[in-house]
């Protein structure tokens, strides 16, 4: 791998019994880059995300992460405390269902502030100020800061989850279908928001989606997966405009044109 790769995976293999979830997968991610992983359900997209983020141990293969000081660390050989520290500061995880990540019984401000407090922030006023600033960034009104997430709409919940994840300025964010389950107009706004935040903050992201339009809009590079294998990878526009592999051709041709 080159000197400036942020995340690098080599030969990842994961099987659930007889079912192959990942077969000899390689991946590279550079700082500030958005990598989309596309494929049908069961193609191993989410498994790849879990293995890359250290949430799931592969049967073979290695994932390297370069920390801000430039040192390389094997994500799966890292001690638990180090991995947790990474997950609550340097990394972020955006779930498809925001309810998995948010604390529904805690106010929006508390949700956004949790990562700050976990990192050691102990000044109520500044935690709250930062929470309000982040709510503004994700276009949630500042006077909703004390409301419970259960009073929020689906799109607002997803935006709240993004604020909660980005508040510690992570360098790398894993996103699992961030726009899944939202209606089309809300999706468009959310995509616009993610795109501007990622570009402005220089965040690298691994984005799992089955929606090629989402990949086209957000990602610099794309990986197409089928039955646990990467069948095609390259620049997003190149792959989507001129698909080489039969499966990619099928995916691209099956997108409905409005």
């Amino acid at each position: 791998m080159s000197d400036d790769t942020l995340l690098s995976a080599r030969g990842l293999t994961l099987r659930f019994g007889a079912v192959p979830a990942l077969v000899d997968v390689d991946a590279e991610l550079w700082p500030g880059e958005v990598l989309a992983v596309v494929g049908e359900s069961g193609s191993g997209k989410t498994s790849l995300l879990n293995v890359l983020s250290g949430r799931c141990q592969p049967q073979s293969g290695v994932v390297w992460y370069r920390d801000p000081e430039g040192r390389l660390a094997d994500v799966h050989a890292m001690p638990q405390p180090a991995l947790r520290a990474l997950h609550r500061s340097d990394w972020g995880f955006v779930h498809q269902n925001p309810r998995e990540n948010l604390r529904m019984g805690v106010s929006a401000g508390g949700n956004v502030g949790e990562r700050l407090m976990a990192r050691g922030a102990r000044h109520y006023g500044s935690i709250r100020a930062e929470a309000i600033a982040w709510l503004a960034q994700v276009e949630i009104d500042a006077n909703r800061v004390d409301d419970l997430p259960s009073t929020f709409s689906g799109g607002m919940l997803q935006r709240l989850q993004i604020a909660r994840t980005l508040v510690t300025h992570p360098r790398l964010v894993f996103m699992d279908e961030p726009t899944g389950g939202l209606d089309v107009s809300v999706q468009a706004r959310l995509l616009d928001l993610i795109r501007s935040l990622v570009a402005r903050l220089g965040i690298a992201a691994v984005l799992v989606t089955h929606d090629l339009a989402v990949a086209r809009l957000l990602a610099h590079r794309i990986m197409v997966m089928q039955r646990g294998r990467v069948v095609e990878a390259g620049l997003t526009d190149q792959v989507l405009d001129d698909p080489q592999h039969a499966y990619t051709q099928l995916l691209v041709s099956s997108v409905l044109q409005a």
Partner: protein, 281 residues
């Protein structure tokens, strides 16, 4: 003294097991140590943990004081004191200064404790994260990794909703800068007394089968925010019996026309002050 039982009710092997757990607890201040809690001849919630700790550390020369909400004369305190008088033949006392072992439920005596005294707490719920994190496996992992952001989220929510931290008792503390600990349901007023206390503090939770300890002169900090520092609160009254203005007060309803009397919850403290001439009536 009733000779039908082994000294202090528990058999020697059990006492040894509890002492081993206590040694480990003292070695890791604030860490919850599992132990094989026994059935005791009193119901859970009445101090089965505290009574087992007391039984395994008490000797014939010890002087035992038992308090319940600060009072020496309540059912729970009287029963436990009588229990040890029968099974161990130890001298009971109600005076804090004379006691070598003090078993307590929900209070720390007002009189500062000394190095030659041991304070034993009865604990209903040893896990400070119990109400915040439903999975016990996860809360143990949070202790192991010192990952206590969640507790601060609770404090944040309190300040957001009520303008102050609304925890009146069992106020969470950090012990020795490492472990988050539930100080048992003592009022937050008593929390500062735990900090750098010369006496050994032992905590026993019988139903939950956990022991923990704060060794003498250990740092115990109540959790707070820099701009919302911890404050010990008490009812803004004076004791109706001894006139104390600095002790923790109980509110006693006198009649059904709104009559109230505030008295020291620590009965020994109140009596000592009255005998010394601080009485009002």
């Amino acid at each position: 003294m009733n000779t039908g039982y082994n000294f202090a009710y528990l058999d020697e092997q059990t006492k040894r097991m509890v002492r081993r757990a206590i040694l480990k607890a003292v070695a890791i201040p604030g860490h919850q140590v599992p132990f094989g809690s026994r059935e005791m001849p009193l119901p859970y919630g009445w101090g089965t943990g505290g009574i087992q700790v007391t039984a395994s550390i008490i000797g014939p020369a010890d002087v035992l004081k038992v308090i319940d909400q600060g009072a020496d004369d309540t059912t729970n305190a009287v029963s436990i004191r009588r229990f040890f008088a029968r099974t161990a033949g130890v001298a009971p006392t109600t005076h804090t200064a004379e006691a070598t072992v003090i078993q307590t439920r929900h209070r720390i005596p007002e009189l500062p404790l000394r190095e030659d005294q041991i304070l034993v707490y009865q604990v209903p719920q040893p896990e400070p994260l119990a109400r915040l994190e439903p999975s016990r496996a996860e809360s143990r992992r949070m202790h192991a990794l010192s990952d206590y952001g969640l507790m601060h989220v609770k404090l944040y929510e309190d300040i957001t909703r009520y303008g102050h931290v609304s925890i009146s008792h069992d106020y969470p503390v950090m012990v020795n800068g490492r472990y988050l600990m539930a100080p048992s349901p003592i009022p937050a007023f008593d929390n500062p007394k735990m900090h750098m206390m010369p006496a050994l503090q032992l905590f026993g939770a019988g139903r939950e089968k956990r022991l923990y300890a704060v060794p003498p002169y250990t740092e115990v900090r109540s959790l707070d925010f820099d701009d919302h520092p911890f404050r010990a609160t008490r009812a803004p009254h004076t004791c109706g019996l001894c006139g104390a203005t600095d002790s923790y007060l109980d509110e006693v309803v006198l009649d059904d026309r709104g009559g109230r009397l505030f008295v020291c919850s620590d009965t020994d403290h109140c009596e000592t002050r009255r005998e010394a001439g601080g009485a009002r009536r």
